[in-house]
Symmetry: D2
């Protein structure tokens, strides 16, 4: 099979403005995430990166057309992501591009648009220990990691997480404070597969953690479509502003 | 329990411009749909109607705040529904207002926004017989109707229907041409419950059909929230344009 | 609507043999559970009890036929429950009787038969604090309780819980040790509704807890069937030992 | 990756006693099913067969231990399958062996035990045309087949199909009589994956059909576990007759 073409998208702002974050991620969080995917997938993946401040946020039509799976980390600047880029990414996901949404990406425009809900949650940035328990031990995303994965420190995310009930619930996290969170969830939307994975606040070295990198790599492999072509679901009418005037369907024998 | 406050929303355009439709629905499709709900729910519901050409499409903030369940039929003029009204309805659904989407409402702005997908399907308007089979005989929405419900003539809707996998699949339809369609589906989004029900093209007298009316009435009853208050999921951040600045959660004992 | 006819089944052995348990539940755990249901449902329910050492375990055909919802607590003596009684309960659940399975009932014959899996889990009986978080705030079973419910002490149950993915996940618990558990789950089987709820080891006074009682009462209300008759799914062939010789189906117009 | 070790199990009775069936399947239905899998998977699979009248039905412990995916076709002799063989297959499925159940296998002991329900359905053996529509176009099992698959003649199976709601609904069939059926369904049970696929009555040459063979081959590939070891879910207690006496769990840091 051809290598998976991965684009790792990073907001890349905290790394510019906060010394502490720059210390943890000298080349940017996106480079560390990309390195983790390369580490686990090797020749099975070709990984590039893109960031908010590149033209078109580095997500032009040709880039997306050549991307099998996009990963997304954003936080402070969700509002700066251009709507036309969100439209483009949305269309590609519904057409079959995989999407892996990380941590604070829960409030990104692309994720909330795909979910249709507020995607709110509870949070507390106070060095909680996070334990990540597998609740679907058969899932490809859960292979090769301990039960639980132990993250010494990360931001707490707690329920209620306002997303549609996931198609598959893979991981549940608990925190020092006793909170719980559905921290690994999958959904199918159109022809695309979506994986949300909770760990990864910018204030902690979470994307250097071996098991977290493994889960993200597993998620990338899982999210790649089995369909050979990138197409929107048929009789496509993506925008809602106009009445569709396509052809009537004349049946299986027509 | 208090009566369910229902608002039946109708586009009400075909009835103005097409003699054939006016003949089937002299007072508008919305009035026939409303009559069917009253017929089955009696004193258990208080039903009003609203239409596209009323100011604010008849869906002001006070109207929605006093609506437990909204039903939606639209077709030719989805694009004329104002975005601010869609925002308002969306917020109310996520806060707990029930939504029953009928037939060509599958391409309404509110439904596609809640689903996050294209909501496309195959169609053919050629007098197919529709058989509506129950696949979840325990579901409250399926009570009191034959298996199958027989609709002598309606528009064909066929798979693939590009929606998220329904939380519950209640009905599957077949058509004269051999096509199938997931014709009764439920989803939960935020605090709201959504029921999509396929029958009801404007060219056929479907909303005079006893069993179809029963299903819609059942759907209205099911869609009413059990929660006493109308509130968005907590730590609400509905728009995606700004960084949330709420309080950190201090845990169950704080 | 008629009152819900509830039968609370209790193994009632620990109460006979362990002074500590008898002290917590002088009249037996089943009587305390029954009292909690009466407290919350009042005239909306008629509650009786049955126990292992009664003839036929108190679950004769007439008793089951007059039971809308059965609750089940067992632990030390699962193996003593007669297979013919399990057959009878199974047939009634598939025919529409609701079933609420409590705590160590996860390993009862009736639950494992309905699930088809081992229903194993991790456990530790060392006075963990249990926090029960709502992950489906719209669910009728989750109404009227705090988020989280705090149980000062109970046995720990941890993932992986080997059950089919629940149709609806209502609650997730965390424990002092950091473990998590899908502690409130629903499944539909045949015409019956099943609710599993984790709290309630015999060594702790959990069934005196106001919120736990509320959840069980909510579960009973939810599990009552909407169908008017108690019947197995059609073309019934319950045992697998014989070839079915029923009539061919001649279609909707025959 | 190693080739998938497939065992195709066939009841192989109709082929012995009915000339018509022997004419369609001179070497037995199991050999035709096996040939179809080989045709599509080639070197990626090693396929053997086993039948009812072999000792232990050809499903000894060593055979199952060396089987990644088992396919099952039975009809007239479900009752002759020994309970100890069913126990063994059940344990292997829960431990990670994939299972593909075909057509009248819906009433096999192994399938009803895994489902926990009656698995009844409506049927009519009168040469209906069957159309098999894809409702999850992203699913690996649905790749490479037309929409719909057209089967000129097969037995009709109609709803209501009394199984647990499938984890994934891949195909829905319609029939000449207008009936519908959830004809391609998946479930996860324990560490095992299960795929039910409806086509294939013994009176028709369905397993010679190119697309049907493709789906079965896809199902085999999908059902193979990602887990490296064949083990029951942990703290294993398979039978329900005895109280578990295993070790208490001392937590992630113990």
């Amino acid at each position: 099979m051809d290598p998976i073409r991965v684009t790792v998208w990073g907001e890349n702002r905290h790394e510019q403005t906060e010394e502490h974050v720059a210390g943890l991620y000298p080349e940017g969080m996106h480079e560390t995430i990309a390195a983790g995917i390369r580490e686990h997938l090797g020749d099975a993946a070709v990984v590039r990166t893109a960031t908010l401040d590149e033209p078109g946020h580095g997500l032009s039509e040709p880039v997306l057309a050549a991307t099998d799976v996009l990963t997304w980390w954003g936080h402070a600047a969700h509002g700066e992501v251009a709507d036309e880029v969100v439209d483009r990414v949305h269309r590609h996901v519904l057409s079959g591009m995989g999407l892996v949404v990380l941590h604070s990406g829960h409030w990104s425009k692309i994720f909330t648009r795909l979910m249709g809900t507020t995607c709110t949650l509870r949070w507390r940035n106070e060095h909680d220990r996070e334990l990540i328990w597998t609740v679907d031990p058969t899932h490809p995303i859960a292979q090769g990691v301990p039960h639980p994965i132990v993250v010494a420190e990360d931001e707490m995310y707690g329920e209620h997480f306002d997303v549609p009930p996931p198609d598959e619930l893979v991981f549940i996290s608990s925190f020092s404070g006793g909170e719980v969170f559905r921290s690994g969830c999958t959904w199918r939307r159109g022809h695309g597969r979506i994986f949300y994975f909770k760990p990864g606040d910018q204030d902690y070295p979470v994307y250097h953690h071996r098991d977290i990198r493994r889960v993200i790599a597993n998620g990338v492999r899982w999210a790649r479509s089995d369909r050979p072509e990138r197409v929107l679901p048929e009789l496509l009418r993506y925008d809602t502003g106009e009445f569709f005037t396509g052809r009537s369907y004349q049946g299986p024998t027509a």
